[in-house]
Each structure stands twice: as structure tokens, then as C-alpha cells.
Symmetry: C2
Subunit: 420 residues, 2 copies
């Protein structure tokens, strides 16, 4: 690996560490003023941002990027205004830093409090959407962290100008330099150097597709929060209200299919499959959903393709749905335990015991009874913002808001106590 | 790496996963009954345990282990009774599983609760003390987790018999098989296979010296909680009550020096160094503490050795103390930020502003004002038990008790809500 790339990442991380030490003791109002200043700067710099975005779009079209990727990459006045609005909303949220999570007095008179403090230096490795530059930087800053952003090559010009605009605004408003830094190259070695910067980066959060996330999880020596892979199920129980089940199963697949909390497999109890599936299939067909089913499903829905073993484990992120008929709640739970990614799982049931068993036996970040998996989201949950959805169990699980971008410190006040 | 070692670790982890799924829904009283049964079984099996321990001790002496290591390895009737008592105490602690950490209702009527649930399968890689087998297994089990233990070769016979005794007792009392498993070999490949068992082991906790911990942190692809390295400081401020400072600085170094929360470097403000250090040094001398100081210290304490750059970064775990005179609180904070391991740091001061600054600017798991760093400990903090002291920032920081051996699950109850 190029030594100078590693050295430049380490230098950025050391600068970020110094900024983080100062940010950790910044008052909330100073951080909020900086967020508002960053929002204003984005709006003021619209022309400059769109010019740089046009460079990325031209290169993207020349490279033959799909329409979907070009759309993700595209900034408009409206999208810039939305990013600014996001920063203003962050400014209005409560500061997670300084919260006393617990506090108690020991028999020897020591007063202990467990206080939320910033994580320190957060690295974000992400793909093509340039808005992540602004969203992630804002979240990290509000929680008192310095951030090092490393985006994808398709958006490099957009990312550079966005980072310049917001980081200059933050500094002008009085925050320390280097709170927000963007790696100015998309050299793979830079990402690797970030993954290996143990002791310099406190937490690495990958945002993007399964490939990116697995690369980071497999190679990082820095602590990682794994986000985003969602192979989510909806199980329609034998006791389900079938009209409710139809609404939920339709919503979970169709309302927005390219996101991690969308349903990828529908499980239907055999007692209700004959009544439920043909009707449900018509609705999916009208919405352009391709079905892949087991033998029982194919008997009820002749136009459904045959599901292979691979289908049960696939996060389609598309209008494709795997469908399976199961003989029992046990079979549904076993299927989800085997193939699920522990993201979001739903049961539709009128049966109390079935709801209880599903709630307790399904191991996932979010478990739903009679609701769509699409609700797993920091905004929907009322957290005001999210940096991603953690599918790991350590540190944070489910939607990661500002609170999850902090750690704790025990502060102990005494009067000369020593241990005997 | 031997394929069969990897396969046997994977098989153990899969068995543990099945046990964990059942343990997660076990009632507290069943887990507590198992802990009491395990305690009873240890006492009943004393002779068998001591016989196997004697095999380890004989091999250890033949291999020339130091007296200190032989002492750590040695089991006695008293030590077995202490382990049993530890399990009985765990049975009496509140169950961390099932606690609703937060709960709220969304505007659309969805009821969300954030519930504590077990982590799943926990791997523990540890060194020579056989009591870790029992302590760690008890903690993991109480928090509803299955555990895979991998101990050091010096204690292999002791560990095997201890694991047999407690795991059989747990199973007899009705818990699922394979809640507690010990890797029956000390092959290095087995530890490596544990570190790489992503998706099969939910969390790996190394317990032991710096070498072991760094090996695990550097090589694991499984999420790790880093424990234990403590390069702790006590800073005697210009305003300190010097008698209090003397008691605290003595306690932090001498009360027990081989542990991670013991002080390794003493920082003294130059305003009080002339008065404080000669007196303090006499007391250390009488206790057999070797001092290594900077130039100023050597002038005041002629028998002190010269401190090198290495000394500032060393966790001695012995009756050795690095001593430095600093010109200001700023210099003290800068020194600690540069050399400290972010474990436990103390200031002795009468000055309100100095206390506030130290509390806020020192980045460590535990920050003390006018108290000994030796208090950083799950038992001292009133958690009832601990599996180690985390020096990382993700998931858990500071003493890790039962609560830190759990994760969360969002449970959402609805009435047919879909996302619009």
C-alpha cells in the first residue's frame, strides 16, 4: 500500500482527534449555531455545488452508469435545500452529550454518574449518494464527534465541494478546524488505511451495499458498526385478519422496495394460503411484483416462478418477492432464524400466544406484530435523525440516532476515598 | 490451519447458537436455579477438581512457571468455595433480560418498546486463572447467553473438569445442552477459528495480558470488547490537600499493584512538588516501590531512577511508579491524553474549576476527583459482578456487568399500521 496514502489518512485522523477533543467540550448552542451556519452555506453555495455535481454527472454518463445511479448522484436546488433543512432539524434536536444516564452514591460516599460523551473520531465509508456527506457530518458534529468521510468515486467532485462548504461554515462559526474532513481521493488504499487506523479512529460506519459493508466488516481493525442488510419477512399467521395482512404485506414490499426494511420473503400459514395467496398475488401482479414461490405457492399462483434455495437468502431490493407456505408458527420462526438477516421481522396475527412467541423467539433488531416492517427507521421511530440501521448486536441495534453516536464516561466525585 | 479444528469450533458455535435461542426465552428462576445447582456441584466435586488441578500444577512446575503463575493456577477448597459463592451471588442479582429500557407510542398508534435481550453466543479467550471458567460462564448464563470458553494451556485440566462439572449441573437442572462449552484443546488454531467465526459468535471478550488482548483485537472478524489495559494516572494539583493526595497516591499504587486500575504514573504540580514528593517518596520506599522520575523528581528524590520515554507508556503491573512534575493542569491533561490508555484517571484538587476541567477534558472510562483509581471495578461500583473492564468506546465502557452482556430489540405492536 502506498505509504503516503496511509500517512495522509493518519495525519487526517490525528487532526480529527485534536478537533474531537475540543468538540467534546463545546456547548450545545455553539454546535447548533454551526449546524445552522452549515445549512445557510449550502443554500448560498448552490451554484458552485451544482457545477461540481455536473462534472460528476457527465463522467457518470460517460462511464455508462444506470439511470438509477445517475438519479442517486444528481443534486438539484430542491435536494440541496433538503440537505440544509436536515441540518436545521438536527440543530433543533436535543444534544445527546452530557446526559446523566444513571447516577448513584456508594456506601463509602463516592458519587458516581454515568455520563454520555462523544465517541471521538468517526469514519464513514459510503457509496454514491452525495447527501451522505452532509447528513453524516451533521449527525457526527451534533453528537460532538469529528468525522472523516470517504465517499465513492462517482460523487467525488460533489462530495469535495459539499465538504468544503460545510466545513468552512463550521469553522467560521467558531468550531475547531478539522471537525469535518473528506478524503480527497477515492483510492482504495485510503479506505483500507481508515479500516486499519486502530487507536486513531474510534468507530467506522460503512453505508452502502452489501459488498461495501462486508469488506469493511471483514477487514477493519477499528471497531465497526455494521449497517443495513435487510432480508426481512412478513409471516401471515393462521389466525391473521387477512385484510390487514394484505395491507401490511403489500406495504412492506411495494411502498418502497429498494430499502433495507422492505420485505423480501412472505411466509403464509397453510390454513389460510388458499384464501389469502391468490388475492394477494393479484394485487402484487398489478403493482408489477415478480413472485418466486415454493410448490404450494405455484399451485395457487400459476404465474409465480419457482423459488430456489438462493431466493430465501436474497435481499432483492427490487419488486421481487419470495413466497413460502409454512405449516406452523414453528416453521415460520425456524425459516426466519435460518435465512433472516436479523433486521426487521413481522407477524400478522389475532392470536395472543402467537404474538408473544414471535416477539420473544425472533432474534432481530425490530420485531413487529400487525405492522409493516417499513417502520424501522430513525425518523419513523421519532429519533429525529439516523445515520443507519445497525444489524449487529454490540453498541447499537436498529436505527442509530444521535444517542448511538455517543459512548459513556463514569465520573466519580470523592472526598479522599481509598480502597481497602 | 487444520480444517478439522475450524470445523469443530464451528460445530461448537452452532450448538451454542441453538442453546442460546432456547436460553433467551428461559425464565429467570430457571437460570437462577441452574446457577445454584452449578455452585453446589462445584463444592460436591471438590476432590475431582483438585485432582485435575494437581496435574496442571505438576506440569507447570516442570515447565518452570514462576511462583506468581503457579499461585494463579492453584485451586484450593477455599478457592472452589469462593467460585461457588460467586455463582450463588449471581443467582441473587436482578436479571438484565426483558428490561424495557424505553417505551413510547408513535402518533400513528404504534407502541414501541426497546427491550434488553441476550447477545447470543459469547466467546471468552483467557489465560491462566481457572476461576475465569466458572465466573465467565455464570455471568454469560445469567444474562441468557451461551458461552464458548477457551483457556490457556497451563490450566487445561482444571478448566476441563470445571466446565464439565458446571455444564452438567446446568443441564441436569433443566437448561438446554451446550449453554457452556469449553474448547478442549489449547491449539492456537482453535482461538483463531473463534476470532474468525463471524455470524456464529456474536461477541468475543479476551481476558488476560496486553499480548492476548491485542492479538484478539487485531485478528478478530467477530465483534470484540477490548478489556483491561490500564495505564492510569493520578494528578496532584497545586491546590490539592496534600495529606489526601498522599493517601490516594499511595492506595492507587500499593494497595494492589498487579491490576488494571492501579496507578502507573504520578503527576505532581510544580507548586507542590517540593513539599509533596520527598514525603511521598519515603512512604513509597518503605513499601518497596521503585520510582522512575524526570529531572525535577530526581532532584527531589535522589534515589529515584531516570524515567525514559518508555516509562510514560508502560503498564508496570508491579511496584514500579513513573513520576513527573508538571507546570500546569494543561500539561497534566496533555500528558494523560498522550500516554494514558483511557481506563481510569484521577485528580486530587480543592479547586472547583480544575475538577470540572479534568472531568470534562480527560477522555477515559472512569474519571476520579479526590478518590483512588482502584475503585474502577464492577463490584465496587455496585454492579454485583463484572466480566472485565472495557477500555473501548463501543458497546460498553468501564466495568462490564450483566447489563453489558445484553443487547436490545425493538418490539413494535400495531393494529395494521402501514407506512405512507
Amino acid at each position: 500500500m502506498a505509504v503516503d496514502v496511509v500517512e495522509s489518512i493518519h495525519a487526517m485522523a490525528r487532526d480529527a482527534g485534536k478537533a474531537a477533543a475540543r468538540l467534546a467540550t463545546c456547548d450545545t448552542r455553539d454546535k447548533d449555531a454551526a449546524l445552522v451556519a452549515m445549512a445557510d452555506a449550502l443554500v448560498v453555495s448552490e451554484r458552485r455545488i451544482l457545477e461540481q455535481n455536473a462534472v460528476d454527472l457527465k463522467a457518470g454518463r460517460a462511464a455508462g452508469l444506470s439511470d438509477a445511479l445517475i438519479d442517486r448522484l444528481t443534486l438539484t436546488g430542491k435536494r440541496i435545500a433538503d440537505m440544509a433543512e436536515g441540518l436545521n432539524q438536527l440543530a433543533a434536536l436535543p444534544d445527546p452529550v452530557g446526559r446523566v444516564n444513571r447516577g448513584w452514591r456508594l456506601p463509602n460516599g463516592l458519587d458516581i454518574k454515568k455520563v454520555s460523551v462523544p465517541l471521538g473520531v468517526i469514519g464513514i465509508i459510503f457509496e454514491s449518494r452525495p447527501n451522505v456527506t452532509v447528513d453524516a457530518a451533521g449527525l457526527c458534529l451534533k453528537a460532538g464527534n469529528a468525522v472523516i468521510l470517504r465517499g465513492g468515486k462517482e460523487a467525488i467532485h460533489s462530495n469535495i465541494v459539499l465538504a468544503q462548504v460545510i466545513s468552512a461554515a463550521a469553522e467560521r462559526s467558531g468550531l475547531p478546524a478539522n471537525c469535518i474532513q473528506l478524503v480527497p481521493t477515492t483510492d482504495r488504499a485510503a479506505a483500507t488505511a481508515m479500516m486499519e487506523a486502530a487507536g486513531l479512529i474510534d468507530c467506522l460506519i460503512p453505508r452502502g451495499g452489501a459488498g461495501l459493508i462486508q469488506t469493511v466488516v471483514q477487514n477493519a481493525k477499528v471497531p465497526v458498526v455494521e449497517t443495513g442488510i435487510g432480508n426481512c419477512h412478513t409471516y401471515v399467521d393462521s389466525s391473521a385478519d387477512l385484510e390487514m395482512a394484505e395491507e401490511i404485506a403489500f406495504n412492506a414490499k411495494v411502498q418502497r422496495c429498494g430499502v433495507c426494511n422492505a420485505m423480501e420473503t412472505l411466509l403464509v400459514h397453510s390454513d389460510v394460503a388458499d384464501e389469502f395467496l391468490p388475492r394477494m398475488a393479484e394485487r402484487y401482479k398489478a403493482a408489477g411484483v415478480e413472485l418466486r414461490g415454493d410448490e404450494h405457492v405455484q399451485r395457487l399462483v400459476p404465474w409465480a416462478a419457482e423459488a430456489t434455495e438462493d431466493d430465501w437468502g436474497t435481499e432483492y431490493l427490487a419488486l421481487i418477492l419470495a413466497v413460502k407456505v409454512v405449516a406452523s408458527l414453528d416453521e415460520a420462526i425456524a425459516h426466519i432464524s435460518k435465512y433472516g438477516s436479523r433486521h426487521s421481522e413481522a407477524i400478522v396475527t389475532k392470536d395472543y400466544a402467537a404474538a408473544r412467541r414471535f416477539e420473544n423467539e425472533i432474534d432481530a433488531a425490530a420485531v413487529y406484530v400487525n405492522a409493516s416492517t417499513r417502520f424501522t427507521d430513525g425518523f419513523q421511530y421519532g429519533m429525529g435523525a439516523e445515520i443507519g440501521i445497525s444489524t449487529q448486536k454490540l453498541h447499537a441495534r436498529g436505527p442509530m440516532g444521535l444517542e448511538e453516536l455517543t459512548t459513556v464516561k463514569y465520573v466519580v466525585y470523592g472526598d479522599g476515598q481509598v480502597r481497602s
